[in-house]
Symmetry: C2
Subunit: 289 residues, 2 copies
């Protein structure tokens, strides 16, 4: 199976390197060509366009930033759709609006090309370690064909249903994590003002119903007042923006999701979009002063 990889950013580059090491990578493409420099002079060919990357490929993986980027590299004038052969499989691992994934899938389907949406969680560290959690939506037969490839950098690869379900699972995940960051922020703001010791409080509540991975992984940030990322607020804000676009299409209202997005947006405007998402705690203090 000939595999091409498009999008060599913070996430994409380590993922492509894992495929290269496993001897499964044929071509790469990146808009800024210099980022593909690590592949020059190797067996991996650096393509000049997504179209060229898709020619001769059985599988094209895309890992870009947002819905419009996925549309551009797949459906644009120099896009994958103009190079891929009928029977090829395209897997978009970007975190985008799942309703856009469905539209892309329809266009590719007209040409006999399979399309899966397969966003990941685990962040840059997960990509480097080859230990991503991959949530996949789309045709089950296509999924089974590409599953061994995805396992090269995936700790878990879960098929969740038809096209779009990978994206919806990712958005559901980001809703929970985003709102929990604010839950932790409010609880520890009360605790701080009351004079409670954070470590003692954490030990008192962590084994009960309030216990969570957010608390376990982020309590240290609150104790130290250090909000280096981690997962950046500006990326989480993008995911929640896509969540709200999808929710609008589905006709539902998500009040806390909307408000967390607004809080994150305000932090971006204030130049704090590069902080870890646990930085919502910092915002509670800033708005108090």
């Amino acid at each position: 199976m000939k595999v091409s990889f498009i999008g060599l950013g913070i996430m994409g580059l380590p993922m492509a390197r894992h495929l290269q090491k496993a001897g499964k990578l044929t071509k790469v493409y990146n808009r800024t060509r210099s980022k593909a420099g690590v592949f020059e002079g190797t067996d991996v060919q650096v393509a000049n366009s997504p179209k060229e990357a898709a020619e001769t490929a059985d599988l094209v993986i895309t890992m870009v930033s947002d819905s419009s980027d996925s549309e551009d590299v797949i459906l644009g004038p120099e896009g994958v759709i103009h190079g891929a052969q009928p029977g090829a499989i395209i897997v978009d691992m970007s975190s985008i609006n799942p309703e856009v994934s469905k539209q892309i899938g329809r266009r590719l389907g007209e040409k006999g090309i399979d399309f899966l949406d397969a966003p990941v969680s685990g962040g840059e560290q997960g990509a480097i370690a080859g230990a991503l959690a991959i949530m996949v939506g789309g045709n089950i037969t296509a999924f089974q064909k590409v599953e061994p490839i995805l396992k090269v950098f995936g700790k878990s690869v879960t098929h969740l249903g038809p096209l779009g379900m990978g994206g919806y699972a990712k958005l559901a995940n980001q809703i929970i994590v985003g709102i929990e960051m604010q839950a932790m922020a409010e609880a520890f703001t009360l605790a701080k003002e009351a004079g409670l010791d954070f470590e003692a409080l954490y030990e008192a509540i962590r084994y009960g119903l309030a216990g969570s991975h957010v608390l376990d992984q982020k309590i240290r940030n609150l104790i130290d007042g250090n909000f280096n990322p981690g997962f950046k607020i500006e990326l989480h804000e993008k995911d929640l923006r896509n969540t709200l676009l999808a929710a609008k299409t589905l006709g539902i209202s998500l009040p806390f999701t909307e408000q967390v997005r607004q809080m994150m947006h305000e932090m971006i405007e204030a130049g704090e979009g590069g902080l870890d998402h646990s930085g919502l705690y910092k915002r509670m203090g800033d708005s108090r002063e």
Copy 2:
């Protein structure tokens, strides 16, 4: 050490029974005397007032509903304060506004009586099993004297600092749990409308940052659409009301806590206060129809 127990409700009765079985209970009092019937004809004396329960006691434990009840049984005309001897210790295990606990403590202190606030988590099941998590604030010497008694029904007994810190820890806990219920509600409302399978989604996200005890313990309610308590919305609403009263005293704003309290209040008004707090998910559906 002679121990009296005041407040034989859903929580208090099983706690008092554990003390009785351990041979550590001298007197009980309950406003509705019939609830003390189980102690008639035993070695445990049924007192006619909180004052009478406190006379001769080294330790008086109170477990009532809300701030005004604690004030009434401790400071009221027939209250504990009129019976307790200097050197006695009063432990209030009710979940109340910690600022009220501080006021009660000042009044008792003037009489040379020690006061600890020691709310619990673990609910009715925890009380019956003798496996409560007990969060204690107040004088450390008094704490050390009563710790062996609290361990009769406590799985963990944690001293968190001066008077009020037990209550603040409990409120911080209830903030996190309440907001997480809404986080889960929004994520699974999106999932439902998108057509995602709840079990598959749960398996895909539970090991990542979105994993929590709320999700582990309440996902079954969402799958089954069964919101039998568990922990009732009307009790959680009371805790959040106390949280907001305390937050006001401290001069801080807790926006999501305020909104969850409002949502729970609306459910109580609609006759759904007896549902489990995971029933916030049901409200998302009701407001959509």
